[in-house]
């Protein structure tokens, strides 16, 4: 395991504790590249943010906190929906995983690393009724 300058000691300890529940290895793929539709993102104070660099720092730091989390980083030359992080079998997040979405990233890795789904038996039974593929997009903000 490696240390991290992006995450504080308290955050690192909490993430390591969460990753202790991993029951199997989890692959994480981070894709970086130019934005399809450039948007200027500003931090408090008006500083422009580099979403690729920030996402690389955060995702690399998080994945470095457990031996069972394997990170692959791909750099694209063509504009697209980057930064994009794909966890395990296809849990996708587009954007910088900051604030509450950092917690979501960690829990998504933990859930992907479980041997059994965490969804209730009743919900799994209802989903068995699906007869076609379904794409769910959830728009969020990092706070």
């Amino acid at each position: 395991m490696t240390g991290s300058s992006t995450l504080g000691e308290t955050e690192q300890a909490a993430i390591r504790e969460a990753f202790a529940d991993l029951e199997r290895d989890v692959g994480v793929v981070l894709e970086l590249g130019p934005a399809a539709t450039p948007v200027t993102l500003l931090a408090a104070g008006g500083r422009e943010l580099d979403s690729n660099a920030i996402t690389r720092d955060v995702v690399t730091s998080v994945c470095g906190l457990a031996d069972g989390v394997r990170l692959t980083v791909t750099e694209h030359d063509e504009p697209g929906p980057w930064p994009r992080t794909t966890i395990g079998p296809g849990l996708v997040y587009q954007g910088m995983p900051l604030g509450y979405e950092l917690t979501t990233l960690v829990h998504a890795i933990v859930d992907a690393g479980r041997a059994e789904p965490t969804l209730s038996a009743a919900s799994r039974e209802r989903l068995d009724a699906l007869e076609q593929d379904v794409a769910i997009d959830v728009f969020v903000t990092p706070t």
Partner: protein, 65 residues
């Protein structure tokens, strides 16, 4: 967001994607997103706001019916 991921882990028919609305503002605007979390099912706006697991599942099923 985590609930959508849990549905995807429980069903091979479901894929789930989280999208940061301010970074992908054009995509958010295209779906009429004005509050978060906003849930889009099969490229159509479904609802906004957090709901319990059972409600989330039923709304996804209803959106695909």
């Amino acid at each position: 967001m985590l609930l959508a991921y849990r549905l995807a882990l429980a069903s091979p028919r479901i894929v789930a994607r989280g999208i940061e609305a301010s970074e992908f503002a054009v995509e958010a605007e295209r779906h009429g997103v004005s509050a978060v979390p906003a849930i889009v099912v099969d490229d159509r706006f479904a609802w906004a706001g957090s709901v319990p697991e059972a409600v989330f599942v039923e709304r996804v099923l209803a959106a695909t019916a």
